[in-house]
């Protein structure tokens, strides 16, 4: 009961915050649409992904995942703000416990990524012909992709001490994961080492799930992608729970008393 009430409370708060900072939501959507409208238009003329369709069609699932990944992961990483301003301590001091705090945060970050992914998905008719069944399957894939991205963000947040590292996270973690995932160009053209990394990269499986939903060819079957993502989610949740331990890592040294 307390777990449910705490998760609901955390989600209510996070969604209120998100709604009151619309610039962040809009900014989050700018990235995929810039890619879709500007970059993909340019590449459309020179690139042939070798999958039958145009480059714009090829990149569309990748751009959806871009929206989920950045939307969810960055929302989750904003947990670091809470640590800086003491809100995290407040949450961890509640009887509910760290795993519940983590779960609440995962749910709200998932919601943000899901929303952004769905907005991009809604632009599908501009890019390709799409059936209702494909939309529904893609929406399910977006839910899972957002959830896994949220957990990834929480795992990062568990080790992050200050929000100044945000840009670093984006450039050092999220962009490489996106690049080595077959989202923006086929992974089959990568060198063997990167191809191997692509195989264990959760983003690859997110992109493939959306591709399958939209009827595009993939390396692995959807059940294999699902298995990979669920395993990754479990491992990440356990790791993040351990790192969320209020003692030491999350609270750290108490701030020195002010004079």
């Amino acid at each position: 009961m307390i777990a449910f009430s705490a998760v609901a409370g955390i989600v209510r708060r996070d969604l209120r915050r998100a709604a009151r900072q619309p610039s962040r939501l809009i900014g989050g959507l700018a990235r995929p649409f810039v890619w879709l409208l500007l970059v993909a238009s340019g590449y459309n003329a020179i690139a042939n992904p070798g999958t039958g369709g145009s480059y714009r069609e090829f990149v569309f699932p990748g751009v959806i995942i871009m929206a989920c990944l950045f939307g969810s992961a960055l929302t989750a990483v904003s947990t670091v703000y809470d640590r800086e301003f003491g809100m995290l301590r407040l949450m961890l001091a509640s009887p509910a416990g760290p795993a519940v705090v983590l779960a609440g945060r995962a749910v709200s970050a998932t919601a943000v990524g899901l929303l952004q992914g769905l907005v991009v998905l809604a632009a599908a008719p501009l890019v390709m012909s799409i059936t209702v069944r494909q939309v529904l399957l893609a929406a399910l894939a977006i839910v899972l992709a957002s959830f896994v991205s949220a957990l990834l963000g929480l795992l990062v947040a568990a080790r992050l001490r200050s929000v100044e590292n945000f840009a670093g996270i984006i450039n050092v973690l999220l962009f490489p994961m996106l690049f080595i995932s077959g989202a923006l160009y086929p992974a089959s053209g990568l060198p063997p080492l990167l191809r191997w990394i692509a195989r264990v990269n959760p983003v690859t499986h997110m992109v493939e799930l959306v591709r399958s939903a939209l009827g595009q060819p993939t390396d692995l079957s959807p059940p294999a992608n699902l298995l990979a993502l669920v395993s990754f989610a479990l491992i990440t949740f356990v790791l993040a729970s351990l790192l969320f331990d209020p003692e030491q890592r999350f609270i750290g040294r108490p701030a020195q008393s002010r004079p």
Partner: protein, 311 residues
């Protein structure tokens, strides 16, 4: 007999090789108000985080209403209300939404939460601010909202780490008024730290920490007793001369050096001492007053108070 709000024995915590808190033995009875005093880095915050179940002790153990702060920390947390040094209110949420969030974390259901929030808003005089975003509030109101937040689940023990820091006198008075009312009406025990020592003079007991160890403890009256009935506070280059003159006539009971001068607990003959202070050159300030907890604080905690022993 009812269980103690806090029963700590030899409670200590290290950070690497730094001993933040050495071994704190502390008992706070239900309904008592106890102050932790001491300079920055004395271990007050560490002690409070340990009792708040947010840090794991390196040694010793503690119970909050009989619940071990490590083994039974979830049960202990239900009895605890915490106010940290920095106000923990979300600036993007309204006051009511902040309270709603805290109520959810504490496990109150929707109806309990609504009732508790109504009561807390009224008690703290926050009703007119309820729908305002926290970032629009002044620091004082934000702090009162923070305390309302900590009391929603009717905790039996409130732990407040420097709750009045940076507040104007009105908000400080409102805060203490509220804590006193809470203790009177609900028997809430209060463990607090403060640098405004006068605030601790109304406490049932005071624990003075310095360098991670307890250097003195007792009721404020007990602690001030060695200072007798009056203290002469002097400043200026003539202080050493005045001190030796007073000591020569056996007028000084106890000396406490402070960064700006000297505090002298007087034996009898206050007028004689004051006269002497007027006649010694180089005394820029001389005030005769009753002893305060600040005298005890300087005597027990400052490095400059090496002579703070009875002479």
């Amino acid at each position: 007999m009812s269980e103690a709000a806090v029963a700590a024995e030899g409670l200590g915590r290290d950070y690497g090789s730094t001993r933040a808190l050495d071994g704190l033995t502390l008992r706070v009875e239900a309904g008592q108000q106890v102050g932790l005093l001491g300079p920055n880095g004395a271990g007050k915050t560490t002690a409070m985080l340990l009792l708040a179940t947010l840090l794991r002790p390196t040694r010793g153990h503690a119970r909050v209403f009989g619940q071990d702060v490590v083994q039974e920390r979830r049960a202990a947390r239900r009895r605890l209300g915490l106010v940290f040094q920095e106000p923990t209110v979300d600036p993007f949420l309204t006051v009511r939404e902040n309270l709603d969030f805290a109520a959810a974390l504490a496990g109150l259901d929707r109806r309990q939460a609504r009732d508790a929030i109504t009561v807390a808003l009224q008690r703290m005089g926050l009703v007119t601010f309820a729908e305002r975003r926290a970032r629009e509030l002044s620091g004082g109101w934000r702090r009162l909202a923070d305390i309302a937040r900590a009391t929603l689940h009717a905790p039996s023990l409130l732990i407040l780490d420097e709750p009045t820091v940076g507040l104007d006198p009105e908000h400080r008075a409102a805060l203490w008024h509220f804590l006193d009312a809470l203790r009177r009406d609900q028997g809430t025990a209060v463990l607090f730290s403060t640098h405004y020592l006068a605030e601790a003079e109304g406490a049932d007991a005071v624990v003075l920490l310095s360098g991670g160890t307890v250097v003195d403890r007792g009721s404020p009256a007990e602690l001030m007793r060695p200072f007798g009935s009056s203290v002469l506070e002097v400043e200026g280059p003539g202080v050493p001369a005045l001190v030796s003159a007073l000591e020569g006539r056996a007028l000084a009971e106890m000396l406490v050096h402070t960064p700006t001068g000297c505090r002298i607990a007087l034996a009898a003959h206050r007028e004689q001492a004051l006269e002497l202070a007027g006649s010694v050159p180089g005394i820029t300030r001389a005030v005769l007053r009753q002893p305060s907890l600040e005298d005890v604080y300087f005597a027990r905690t400052s490095a400059s108070a090496l002579r703070g022993q009875p002479v």
